[in-house]
């Protein structure tokens, strides 16, 4: 049976892992590789590394970071996002160590590149990362660079063609705040035949349970709240044992 996933999310800005609050306030946590190494050791089902300043600064993917992460020999699947502006970028990111890539700015700037990426990497390697927030009881697609709210119909035009395999819904308004993910964002989404990965303000087991109980939700992503205690993944998984997640892993499970 296909398991639902608990994704550890590491947000990177200016080369440092940061705690992000609502896409506007950032507190440094340390080197990204330290956090990624922990998530790998703790048995996360997937790790998302999102370099949030690479597209806006047009500096391209962070290949130095990818090289460092590749050197860790991760046993956990890695999704990378940040600065991917062309099919060539995407292919190089995978060659540098990512298993999949997530794109956000590209959905606005050049959705046709997604099609090209799909033909080179396979659509299963592509995740559409979509910051969303509620505006007057209506969910909107947030363009963080211009700070504009776009209607979901605009997103539908891009995603309706099967250009990505999964949709990462980021509650950008509540990101960084405990127990704050706004599930109304999911209620209003049309059926694009894409499993949903949800992230932003998810900190609590009951909240994870509710989200994972939705058939359309394939994974929950947790960022800041994994950094507050040791072995956080195991703790969450132990409590969520009935939520179709893969069981927690412990050191004794690994061959020496």
């Amino acid at each position: 049976m296909l398991k639902k996933r608990l994704i550890g999310v590491v947000t990177v800005k200016d080369g440092w892992a940061v705690q992000s609050f609502g896409y506007h306030r950032y507190l440094p946590l340390g080197k990204p590789q330290w956090l990624v190494e922990n998530l790998d050791r703790w048995g996360a089902d997937e790790i998302l590394v999102q370099c949030i300043d690479r597209s806006q600064s047009k500096s391209g993917p962070d290949f130095d970071l990818l090289e460092t992460l590749a050197g860790l020999g991760l046993g956990t699947p890695l999704i990378y996002s940040g600065g991917i502006a062309s099919a060539e970028d995407g292919v190089k990111v995978v060659q540098a160590g990512a298993d999949r890539i997530a794109v956000d700015s590209l959905l606005h700037d050049a959705p046709e590149v997604l099609s090209e990426l799909g033909s080179k990497l396979g659509v299963q390697a592509l995740v559409a990362a979509v910051p969303m927030r509620m505006r007057k009881k209506t969910p909107c697609w947030y363009e963080y660079r211009t700070r504009r709210d776009l209607p979901l119909s605009a997103l539908g035009k891009v995603l309706g063609h099967g250009l990505a395999s999964e949709l990462l819904v980021i509650d950008c308004q509540n990101e960084g705040n405990a127990f704050a993910f706004d599930a109304r964002l999911l209620d209003a989404l049309p059926d694009w035949n894409m499993p949903l990965l949800v992230f932003g303000g998810i900190s609590d087991v009951a909240q994870m349970q509710d989200l994972l109980a939705r058939p359309c939700v394939a994974a929950v992503g947790v960022g800041n709240f994994l950094s507050y205690r040791e072995l956080a993944i195991q703790q969450f998984k132990k409590t969520l044992a009935s939520s179709a997640l893969r069981p927690a892993l412990y050191a004794a499970d690994f061959p020496h």
């Binding site: 296909l2 020999g73 956990t76 995978v94 060659q95 299963q124 099967g162 893969r246 061959p255």
Partner: protein
Amino acid sequence: MTLGIAMPVATMPLSIAIVDYGMGNQASVVHTLRSLGYRVKLAASPDGLDDAHLLVLPGVGAFPAAMQALDQRGLVDYLQQQGSQGRPILGICLGMQLLAEASYEHGYTAGLGLIPGEFVPFERNGWHIGWNTIACRPGDALVAAGAGEAFYFNHSFHYQGPEHFQLARAGEPRPCAAIIRDRQVVGMQFHPEKSQAAGRILLQDLINGLIYA
């Protein structure tokens, strides 16, 4: 083994050559195999691949581009010859698909033809992404360690071929072949190198089983 490669003795590290044809990320495969105690190298030419006990064919990407990349490096004939002569070969994810006779990804493309069968898309062009448990053929020691364990899958085409080549199958909602084998050639549809403890254990059993068979 019939290729002039000496059978390893128990105290000698087994050597593995990873076929480097420019498709996807080999770093994790290299790291995992080294951490399991194997001598590992990457090689892009028959000369570099010749002296290893086992060949690993990894891969992420599209089938036609991968076959083209193998062909450009003169590896299609080489791999076909090695496989048919009994050299252990292990294909991972796209690498498993390349071992079959053909795929319909972006049209029909012939594969290496080392395992009978073809790769076809899932219904409604769906995908199989995430950790899925597998059921293994009872009594097969090569894959017994994987029975009931979850492994990381990430693919949109699946194997269609005779049942007796299928050593393990993935469960719902995308039931499909997870491990296929014909003689010393084995394909794993999931990523053992990204499947943490379960992947490492199964990978070790499978490699040792193939080499010492």
